[in-house]
Symmetry: C2
Subunit: 409 residues, 2 copies
């Protein structure tokens, strides 16, 4: 059961001038299910992306990088679920390229102007014929007010569709920032997590957009973990159509840069948290904040050690304040010169540990009270610096095992 997460109200999702979305059912894994999404974007849009660091990256990831690098002016995106087209070798690459060719022909673009994305089972051939056959229907469905249905069309083991939207006024001109994301398993990002597509109608230079994307991803998708597995297909795309007239935001010297970046980051954090709230089998949502570190990297390292520990995650599932497991994770996080005597650990606002052991003031009943809530904040002070990092994760339940043991059946 997703934790404090419901499907987005379609009316809350602002259309983005310059972006149209179309959905179809190709029957890739299951008949009748929406599993194909096409985005058409205005000419001269800027498009930037970040992709998985997994060496076994999927064929569409390779093609996306090529097409973004060649820079012939991206005009369309095509996404399928039900098959990841990963671990598919040269044949998989050919099928990803044929997908681009088919959509390009349908829309009157060149194949290099299309970015392909896939998600689903690994190591099985992409059913290209089914996918191509569904493209005309997806193109016939193209319209701006289609973000909510698009969010549904990219789901795999997700229970709830994920979309978010912000309005931002820059020098008196209003722009939209709207995004969708999918993912609930194989979630442990390294650059970007699973699939996410965001767009704004603000005019932004490629360099400025790239900077915004990296900042926002680092504060959102790169701060979550469901199961510690980094996917082969992770991709996050940010589009700036410039369809609403205004001077182009060239770089962070423009006073509007920070406001737009903040809106993009807010949308991404909402989507990233939605992925965790809908984590496979999740019953709890945990925020792990590590402060007092020497740099952000070591704070994240400790936070992820906690967030990835199966022992910590099963204790949260049981609402059991077995908090020694958190200390154990801090201890093995890999900071070899960590002084454990100085560490303090809080659960919610209850001080649990200090001076290398349980706090004198700690009462189990207070820990149990915090653990019983569906949202739990864990805070660790390393007391060796001034940096902070926050990651979000979910618990580890029977249903996680069930979902992943039965995934292909």
């Amino acid at each position: 059961m997703p934790v404090n997460l419901s499907a987005p109200d379609p009316a809350s999702l602002l259309p983005v001038p310059g972006v149209e979305l179309g959905i179809a059912s190709a029957g890739i894994k299951k008949p009748g299910r929406k599993d194909v999404l096409v985005l058409r974007i205005a000419p001269d849009s800027e498009v930037v992306g970040v992709f998985t660091q997994n060496r076994f990256c999927a064929a569409p990831v390779t093609v996306c990088k090529e097409h973004l690098h060649n820079d012939k002016g991206i005009r369309a995106l095509v996404v399928n679920t039900g098959n990841a087209n990963a671990g598919t070798g040269a044949d998989g690459l050919a099928r990803a390229r044929k997908t681009c060719e088919a959509l390009a022909a349908e829309l009157g673009f060149r194949p290099e102007q299309v970015l392909p994305f896939s998600t689903g089972v690994i190591l099985e051939p992409l059913p290209l014929d089914k996918l191509v056959a569904a493209l005309p229907a997806a193109c016939a469905d193209l319209r701006p007010a289609n973000w909510a249905t698009a969010a549904e069309a990219i789901m795999t083991t997700d229970i709830v569709a994920k979309a978010a939207s912000r309005k931002v006024a820059l020098d008196g001109v209003e722009f939209a920032v709207t995004g969708i994301a999918k993912g609930s398993g194989m979630i442990h990002p390294n650059m970007a997590t699973m699939l996410s597509f965001l767009a704004t109608d603000a005019p932004v230079s490629c360099e400025a957009l790239e900077a915004m994307l990296r900042h926002a991803v680092n504060k959102s998708f790169n701060c979550i973990s469901v199961d510690g597995d980094t996917s082969t297909n992770d991709a996050c795309i940010l589009i700036a159509t410039g369809s609403t007239p205004a001077p182009v935001i060239m770089d962070d010297g423009d006073a509007r840069f920070a406001s737009l970046q903040a809106a993009v980051t807010e949308v991404m954090i909402q989507l990233a948290q939605a992925i965790v709230r809908d984590g496979e089998g999740a019953t709890k949502f945990m925020e792990v904040r590590v402060e007092g570190g020497r740099d952000e990297a070591e704070c994240k390292q400790v936070a992820y050690a906690i967030a990835r520990s199966p022992l910590v995650k099963t204790a949260f599932f049981a609402s059991d304040p077995n908090l020694g497991r958190i200390l154990a994770a801090v201890g093995y996080a890999g900071l070899s010169d960590l002084d454990v005597e100085r560490i303090r650990l809080w659960l919610g606002n209850v001080l649990v540990a200090e001076n290398g052991g349980r706090a004198a003031s700690y009462r189990e009943a207070e820990g149990a009270r915090v653990m019983a809530a569906p949202e739990i904040a864990v805070r660790v002070d390393l007391a060796r610096g001034n940096t902070v990092a926050t990651v979000w994760t979910c618990d580890f339940s029977y249903d996680y095992v069930k979902i992943n043991a039965e995934y292909r059946t």
Copy 2:
């Protein structure tokens, strides 16, 4: 259910001249359960140990290191289960020292001649009075032919007691190597895993014994993972009593060194595999062999990425040959210059993947046949060197979640 593992036949466990073992019930966590073990060892025995790298190491680990470093001639070990005495600060250290004092007084030794060990729940005070009160009974029980009961006395969430024994003839003189181990959760070793105690009656110098221990641990306990959590209390102790007369083995220049090291390594591998076979909730035993690496470290890195992946482990639980998950783990293992086109993956002797994708010869039915067995071999060829590493792990089942969600209840 442990995988192909039954309790050791007490008759198969060779007594080690110079070592006596005594067991008692202190009622530390549950009344009536055997939870205290004392070992008394002959004067002039050599004793070496390796301990957890977890920065939140337990109080008894700190005391063990001190006493081994001071080298006043170790004469006794005391082990309790039910409480780890970890995350207990200065008070925990005082309780570990008082345990040594109490046993030393009982046996007529000095406190620095005693090594203390604890395992169980973290962050709770060690019930010192109960433990001390049980020491006379444990000492009254001291006898050489007590290894099987000792193995039972150190169990926590273990279902099956773990012990192994080998006879080794060196220049016509027969010696015993006997060991016990405990552990089935919080198992992801870094130097040593959980508690293990081995002894031989061969005469070995401290330096030679240290070398044997490091070699054997590196080939056994440092090659297993149950849940990826490195414990706060891991310790592995190797004792050479020299009680059976023979010239002392000074170093690896002695022809007998290799034979004795092989016997010690065999016993440790059997114990390490027993920990995995009895891994919390385990229904399958997996051997992950990574070959063709540039060095052992990178082979282990890839093998552990596979062995730790919750997605791989749940697929094995389901007997589902969802083998793309293994490729994904290879891809995110952290070898940034890995050429995935050259990798080959086998399940048992079935070639699954090559040339970056599924092998043309692969048939799902063959993968399913291998997956249905209780013991499964995974083999990956990185094709970039000549080194090999093997790790052992178990699957991830409903019972893993159940055991760890209910651990303290």
